[in-house]
């Protein structure tokens, strides 16, 4: 879609450049898209899992407000990310129709929206829940919007590794919302998401490599090639699986979690080995990579669901 000219789903077009300054063409759905709702769902799930696993009691309404703040904070990160990345989003097929590159939302609107949500979510978390949870939420927004988006993403092929930490904060926030502190189990949840992120995103990057290369984003397959990426996927998987089993091995969880961690981890290794053994260079032939990407989502869901089930069934 050409910049400066937008077309509504109904077929009515506007010349954005000729419009008076300050006129917004956004629909409410454009603001929702700025929040990256699909990423938000994973964040909500992992934070809620930690909140439900943590010892102690929090009033259900306060618990719901804590999860809402985590969701809005994640949405703020997504909006700030899209504000900064509008130029590269315009170059990639997957992201070209996002509200900013398509011209439906102006950069100033997106920035104001992101900052307002970030400040609002942290303030409400602090006032309604506790200031440790609010501080970690503020740190996670800063980490994603500044450390990952502004600093690392365009500079290093290790962007996903360090950026993965941003997505790993929600369990710490969920736990802190209940207990007011952060102990070994939430840090292990953090480590699980941190180590899960590289195999998840690099398997996507392998079959989306052309898009990233076109946008000039130094994703690992673009910079180091497919073989090196597949080796890194296997290495991170071999680190991820023992860390996933660790909560059970240390006696922090029961057999329900332990058995799920072992079985799902074994399948993850098998899928990563299939990726490692693949030599395809065309996206159409990257079936193991697509399978691993899909399975990694299921794996994270099962592991965190097992933590909650274990807490409520065994404990």
């Amino acid at each position: 879609m050409s910049v400066g000219f937008i077309t509504a789903p109904e077929g009515v077009s506007f010349d954005v450049v000729a419009a008076p300054p300050g006129v917004s063409f956004a629909d409410w759905r454009d603001y929702l898209a700025l929040l990256k709702p699909r990423v938000m769902s994973l964040v909500i799930f992992t934070a809620a899992a930690a909140l439900l696993t943590a010892p102690g009691h929090v009033h259900p309404f306060i618990g719901a407000v804590a999860i809402l703040c985590v969701a809005i904070g994640a949405g703020a990160s997504g909006a700030l990310n899209q504000w900064y990345e509008a130029d590269i989003d315009a170059l990639m097929k997957r992201t070209a129709d996002r509200p900013l590159p398509a011209g439906r939302v102006s950069p100033d609107e997106a920035l104001a929206f992101g900052v307002a949500l970030a400040v609002g979510s942290v303030a409400v978390m602090g006032l309604a829940v506790n200031w440790l949870a609010a501080g970690i939420l503020a740190g996670s927004i800063f980490f994603y919007a500044v450390i990952y988006t502004v600093w690392l993403k365009r500079r290093t092929p290790q962007n996903i590794v360090i950026g993965g930490a941003a997505g790993a904060f929600p369990p710490l926030i969920g736990w802190a919302a209940v207990t007011g502190d952060v102990t070994a189990l939430p840090w292990l949840m953090f480590a699980i998401i941190f180590l899960w992120t590289p195999p998840h995103f690099w398997s996507l990057a392998l079959f989306m490599e052309a898009d990233y290369a076109k946008a000039g984003v130094p994703m690992l397959p673009v910079v180091a090639g497919e073989a090196a990426t597949r080796r890194q996927i296997l290495l991170y998987t071999l680190l991820l699986v023992p860390v996933t089993v660790l909560p059970w091995a240390l006696g922090l969880t029961g057999w329900v979690y332990g058995s799920v961690a072992v079985v799902t981890g074994a399948i993850f290794v098998a899928r990563a080995l299939a990726v490692y053994g693949n030599t395809a260079t065309l996206a159409a032939a990257m079936v193991p990579e697509k399978r691993l990407f899909k399975y990694s989502l299921l794996h994270l869901f099962l592991v965190f669901a097992a933590l909650v089930a274990d807490h409520w069934i065994v404990a």
């Binding site: 009515v12 419009a19 063409f25 629909d27 409410w28 759905r29 409400v124 309604a128």
Partner: protein, 45 residues
């Protein structure tokens, strides 16, 4: 608004503005309910 739009463009622009205003109204209403709920819970013995 002093712009050279066709009636269809004006109608579409108004529809989008209405949808934004409605969404903002719902968000503000939800915030009122949240603050009211938090206040009640905090005042519980």
């Amino acid at each position: 608004m002093n712009v050279d739009w066709t009636p269809e463009q004006t109608a579409e622009f108004n529809r989008r503005r209405r949808s934004r205003n409605l969404a903002l109204g719902l968000v503000l209403g939800a915030l009122v309910l949240i603050f009211f709920g938090v206040s009640l819970v905090k005042m519980l013995p």
